[in-house]
């Protein structure tokens, strides 16, 4: 009979192969027995062990002791427990993988919860806000609310209106530039907390061209900057500053939904 070579550990396990196959409870022993099964030596060992075990069962047990062993099995097999299962490396690895997947899923889901039409553009403009220097802007001293006329008359931009919450803020400068995503963007720099305002076209439905509206103010965060965005008449307004939501909240707390 063809025999397969056994490793040292498999040879050690094969020497301990149980008399009854149902006692094989782990994979390494099962593999060792399967591998050793082809050899005459192992076949002799198994028939030897079966004969000895049969003789052991025939050793007379005093009746007083025998009545304690009325059950077929002397030892109940170890019970399946959550604790034991959780310690299995494969189960542990699967568990960790599932937790990571669930974490990524939850992270994306929570991220999506705060998304709104135009949030991608708003984030991009926050990056621009972080890199803009005041010298890039045309110096304009006045109230932010008065710049709507300038944008309309000079650049033909309709409804580029600064909401009343921010209309009274004194400006340092402004500019209008083209962006691949946001198209025509108006940028205003104000004195108050060195805030920057952005006005840009609201996102539209690709098929119908209808403006994708959203109610009230929405927050976006990017690279240490926070922006509060609202949409009105097809134009989005964003007030941006370096800081956190709580720094912007006082300005919009009355109208935020």
């Amino acid at each position: 009979m063809k025999t397969r070579r056994l490793s040292r550990r498999q040879r050690a396990l094969a020497n301990c192969a149980p008399v009854s196959e149902e006692r094989i409870r782990d994979r390494s022993m099962r593999a060792a027995v399967l591998r050793a099964r082809g050899s005459n030596g192992f076949a002799n060992q198994q028939s030897f062990d079966r004969a000895v075990a049969a003789l052991v069962r025939a050793i007379p047990i005093p009746p007083e002791a025998a009545e304690w062993f009325s059950r077929k099995e002397l030892i109940a097999p170890s019970k399946w427990t959550w604790k034991k299962t959780a310690r299995n490396p494969a189960v542990l690895a699967i568990g960790i993988a599932l937790v990571v997947i669930a974490g990524v899923f939850v992270f994306n889901f929570v991220g999506r919860l705060s998304d709104f039409p135009g949030s991608g553009t708003a984030r991009k403009l926050l990056s621009i806000a972080g890199s803009t220097r005041s010298v890039l802007l045309d110096p304009v001293a006045g109230d932010a609310g008065t710049l709507s006329d300038l944008f309309f008359l000079k650049h033909g931009l309709e409804h580029y209106d600064v909401p009343e919450e921010f209309a009274d803020f004194r400006t340092i400068g402004c500019r209008v530039f083209d962006d691949d995503e946001a198209r025509r963007v108006a940028q205003i720099w104000v004195i108050e907390k060195q805030m920057q305002f952005f006005l840009f076209p609201a996102e539209r439905n690709a098929k119908t061209g209808a403006v994708l509206q959203f109610p009230g103010w929405r927050y976006v965060r990017q690279e240490g900057w926070v922006g509060a965005v609202m949409e009105r008449n097809g134009v989005c307004f964003m007030a941006a500053l370096r800081g956190r939501e709580k720094d912007l909240a006082p300005y919009i707390s009355k109208t935020k939904q």
């Binding site: 006692r23 004969a51 025939a58």
Partner: protein, 143 residues
């Protein structure tokens, strides 16, 4: 392990008595094989006072296909005496192994052996027992 049913009976009763006492007073240990561990130590204690076999270099033979039929010709008590005469931990390993109730890791745990030691003891025991069988039935199995 003792080769004497009277002594085995005494160890058995003492072990159960002690287990009942602990269950009533301290509670039973949270360990699956504590009763077998306890019984084993009582067996070792009980056999300490016996006449000890002299350490002997026993002959070993490879297991043959005829071994099973040779074993069938033995009386159970002959096997019990052979096992009980084996040195510790070979005796414990053989007793638990041929009881056919435990897997190898449980036996190694009960006998306080490593897998390689258990494996070596079982392999050596089989060869020694084969040599003893050959000496006991020199003419081979009868048909």
């Amino acid at each position: 392990m003792l080769g004497d049913s009277g002594k085995a009976q005494a160890v058995f009763q003492t072990t159960l008595h002690e287990a009942a006492r602990r269950a009533a007073h301290e509670g039973l240990p949270n360990e699956r094989f504590w009763l077998f561990r306890d019984a084993r130590w009582r067996c070792l204690e009980a056999s300490e006072t016996d006449l000890q076999a002299e350490p002997l270099e026993m002959e070993e033979r490879e297991i043959t296909a005829e071994a099973a039929s040779q074993i069938q010709r033995l009386e159970p008590i002959q096997l019990a005496i052979w096992i009980s005469a084996a040195p510790e931990a070979q005796r414990t390993a053989l007793a638990f192994f041929y009881l056919d109730e435990f897997d190898y890791s449980e036996i190694a745990d009960l006998a306080e052996l490593k897998l390689r030691e258990l494996s070596r003891l079982l392999a050596v025991s089989r060869r020694q027992f084969q040599a003893w069988l050959d000496a006991t039935f020199p003419e081979g199995p009868t048909v």
